[in-house]
């Protein structure tokens, strides 16, 4: 079971390595969206500091949604997804493997890039640390929830827009708790509650989303 999962993770990382431009596109999107706001609202430091958590989180949200299309669509197109449905390990575990690989190439880089973007907003150091922790806890949830949407819309025309309509409302709790944590840190209040809620949400998503996505994949391929 874990062997098959490792194979899937290794395979998807290898594929991402061979197709670096796809990965880079979503990251560039993240950087550009987050950079548009300082240019748009002007160089007022207090205002920038106030909007920073929201802007960076929303940009991360959109970037991770943009990357969802890669998750199953190409495997669906060339028939390898069928083989995964007929694999010797439960489909849920394969989805877990794919989600882990997907987060490593599209979620983790967002966490690493966040401090660079935070510079533009003059975010304080302790708020920045909380921002990164909240992203580490939050972005895997985004990937897991997004997997359900990506699986449901496989093979549907205009699936990109449909996925966003399905998935964005479900991202709202993560967004609220993530930005809430950074706001709390900036205001000097304890951030524990927000981060614990984010962690709880991740545990919840990790336990249920892969099985829901697996069921959705079976329906899509029927």
């Amino acid at each position: 079971m874990f062997r098959v999962m490792r194979v899937v993770i290794g395979r998807d990382l290898l594929l991402a390595m061979r197709r670096r431009s796809d990965v880079a596109n979503a990251l560039l999107f993240f950087i550009i969206v987050a950079s548009l706001f300082p240019l748009g609202v002007g160089p007022e430091p207090n205002l920038l500091r106030t909007i920073a958590p929201g802007v960076i989180w929303v940009a991360a949200l959109l970037a991770s949604m943009l990357a969802l299309g890669r998750m199953f669509a190409s495997d669906y197109a060339d028939g390898t997804l069928e083989q995964m449905l007929l694999a010797s390990a439960p489909l849920g575990w394969i989805v877990v493997g794919k989600a882990i690989a997907h987060w490593l190439v599209s979620g983790l880089p967002l966490v690493v890039l966040a401090p660079v973007l935070a510079l533009q907003f003059d975010l304080a150091t302790d708020a920045l640390v909380v921002m990164m922790v909240s992203l580490v806890l939050g972005t895997p949830s985004l990937t897991l929830i997004g997997a359900i949407g990506a699986a449901l819309t496989l093979g549907v025309r205009g699936s990109g827009v449909l996925t966003s309509l399905l998935v964005l409302p479900l991202y709202v709790p993560v967004l609220i708790m993530g930005t809430g944590a950074v706001d709390a840190a900036a205001g000097g209040v304890t951030v524990q509650a927000h981060l614990l809620l984010l962690a709880a949400f991740l545990v919840f998503a990790g336990a249920f989303a892969p099985w829901a996505a697996a069921a959705a994949l079976r329906i899509s391929l029927d």
Binding site: V4, V7, L14, D78, G79, T80, E82, Q83, L85, L221
Partner: protein, 206 residues
């Protein structure tokens, strides 16, 4: 081994087939024939559990395949319409990953000899993007040569896009598998002669 009872398939409003019954014993070769659109691929997808039948049930050694799932998958090799070959991976990586997913990981030597068997020795390290249609087909068929102890092969049009030499190799592999007590179900438009055994044919769609 594989028992099919009262199987029916409906696509949209149209009934493709109904009341299909057969039992597949070890060492048998079953050919599914029929016109285009008569439900050959649908039948194969139902038999391996990718699609749900409208009626009836497929059982593997007495147990419904829906309940067995992974246990059944370990003994099954399905090669579908799409070659299931990743463009960005080499022929060899494709084969190794396909085998590992199927639950029968292969070492380097087995993979190399399997690719050699289907005539891809020189192309083993080439990304599949540079392979022709027939060569991609061979990459997926190389899985048969490395299939280990799988019992049931379900092959959807295995001979399309292959040249006569490759068709001969696939026929040999099928014959070897049947001799070893396996079973094969395949669809094909042409009559295919596999020397050792008689071929049972199901004709779909009158």
């Amino acid at each position: 081994m594989l028992e099919v009872s009262d199987l029916g398939c409906v696509r949209g409003e149209r009934t493709l087939f109904g009341g299909l019954e057969f039992t597949l014993e070890p060492g048998t070769l079953l050919r599914v024939a029929g016109r285009n659109g008569s439900g050959k691929t649908s039948l194969l997808r139902i038999l391996c559990g990718l699609a749900l039948p409208a009626r009836g049930e497929v059982r593997w050694r007495g147990e419904p395949i829906r309940a067995l799932r992974e246990e059944f998958h370990r003994q099954l090799v399905y090669i579908g319409h799409a070659p299931a070959v990743k463009d960005d991976l080499t022929a060899r990586e494709n084969l190794e990953i396909a085998c590992a997913l199927g639950g029968a990981p292969v070492d380097g030597g087995t993979a190399a000899s399997a690719l050699d068997r289907v005539g891809l020795r020189e192309h083993a390290g080439l990304p599949a993007r540079f392979l022709s249609q027939g060569q991609r087909r061979r990459v997926s068929l190389a899985r048969l040569a490395a299939a280990g102890d799988s019992r049931l092969w379900i092959l959807d049009e295995p001979f399309t896009a292959l040249d006569t030499i490759a068709i001969g190799v696939v026929q040999e592999m099928i014959a070897g598998h049947l001799d070893a007590g396996g079973a094969v179900i395949f669809t094909s438009h042409q009559e295919v002669a596999v020397a050792t055994v008689s071929v049972f044919t199901i004709e779909l769609g009158g």
